[in-house]
Symmetry: C2
Subunit: 262 residues, 2 copies
């Protein structure tokens, strides 16, 4: 089942369920009570919105071996492979929807993509075992953890390198059934596959993260966990189009444009 | 003017305006449309709730000189004084209200307080100059950035050291008028002042932070910025009561208790 959030001019944003290439509008929300309505629209005729605004926006960061190795090589540092799952944060100001443009600030010089699986929490959860962990998940969506590598190195935190406005494309929808073991992530730059990895080839898997996190914190419906990326990215420039595809889930595509002069 | 969020058994949470030792209930929210109602309750008879759930929860981190020096000395490291304002993040799962208990996890060994001024954003803002920065502020509240120092050192991020459930007391209310230059922060442990500093004695002030941040990101109504703390804290134990007072603003008091056995 695929949940999306959409809008059409003149009516408020709503959740919908994808039925082939059509969208059935829903009253309510997948995070609470909902019922399907009789209103059905063509997917091609609605604006796809960010599927939800996370309550807490978690990000695993370093969670695939090749990404850690290539990042360390780029910085001329020895690779620091995490020994345990430590969760970071991203910020909702930076979220944009499928097809919306990533705006490269005038003073940004090294912008790169990171294609990621995003785990959408559907139930309140604390003290879950690894066996119980999947029980709090509503579904999965796709994230592009756009990063400015110079700022990532120069700043004390990731506030600017990863959370500049428009740096967090997420969508296009939430898929509630995903064969994780079979899933593959492909990132296309201007139509050409430049990064390709098994989505579930993680250093620490989803169950391990959720179990570790909920030892100390409560997960809430509408929280999201971005699971990290593998490989590396070329430097992006205005005019580029980046598409993150996860097989069985969908494809998140965003153009990159230059900041308008002020 | 003081805004608080409160509840009484049997009715939903609501915003209210403090009138002496009474609360006037408000329909709506200080972040949007609102109107006062005729319902007035005794402050002593309502439960004070977290004044709002932030949309994005920013934290300045290192922003007072003595705190940086004493933290470095504690870790046996040279002090790293930030050269520019870089913003970090905290998480809403950890928020608790005035008088609610901070729960010390069974495996936590070095829990400390950090009394902080919290800046509450009331208007959408981008590209503000330092002169314009205060125009997006609704008011101020108080935060206690409770931290577990062993985890702060051992973990790759602050997810556990600073965002364990109940580690972020905030409140008791939002004060819309505050004489920043006159304000002093006092932290009392079991009634005795243990930390005392001029609230506005920051490395980078509020205007500088907001101006720097909004070069890259949009601030939204309901965002909060915790401005950091000065000095250091003793290690806290179950049974302790910590009170963060900012003169002209109010006082945020929370007991510390042990995690119940599972």
């Amino acid at each position: 089942m695929r949940w999306l959030r959409f809008s059409v001019p003149g009516t408020p944003e709503a959740f919908g369920i994808l039925e082939g290439d059509r969208v059935r509008e829903v009253r309510g929300s997948p995070f609470g009570e909902w019922e399907a309505t009789s209103r059905v629209l063509e997917l091609a005729q609605v604006k796809v919105e960010v599927p939800f605004i996370p309550r807490t926006f978690y990000a695993a960061g370093l969670n695939y071996t090749r990404h850690i190795m290539e990042g360390a090589a780029r910085r001329g540092e020895p690779p620091a492979v995490p020994m345990k799952p430590d969760m970071g944060y991203r910020a909702v100001n930076a979220l944009i929807a499928h097809e919306e443009p990533v705006v490269i600030p005038a003073d940004a010089t090294k912008v790169q993509y990171e294609g990621e699986l995003a785990v959408v929490i559907g139930r309140k959860a604390k003290h879950l075992t690894e066996e119980e962990a999947f029980g709090c998940i509503l579904g999965y969506t796709i994230g592009n953890d756009v990063s400015e590598r110079v700022w990532q190195k120069s700043d004390r935190t990731f506030w600017r390198s990863k959370n500049t406005d428009t740096f967090k494309p997420m969508g296009p929808w939430i898929e509630t059934e995903l064969d994780l073991e079979a899933a593959e992530t492909r990132v296309r730059l201007n139509g050409e596959v430049r990064t390709h990895f098994r989505t579930n080839d993680m250093l620490f898997g989803i169950a391990r993260f959720i179990s570790t996190m909920t030892r100390y914190l409560t997960l809430h419906p509408g929280d999201v966990i971005w699971m990290g990326t593998d490989g590396s990215s070329p430097d992006l420039k205005p005019g580029d189009v980046v598409e993150v595809e996860i097989s069985g889930l969908g494809s998140l595509r965003n153009p990159f444009i230059a900041e308008a002069p002020r």
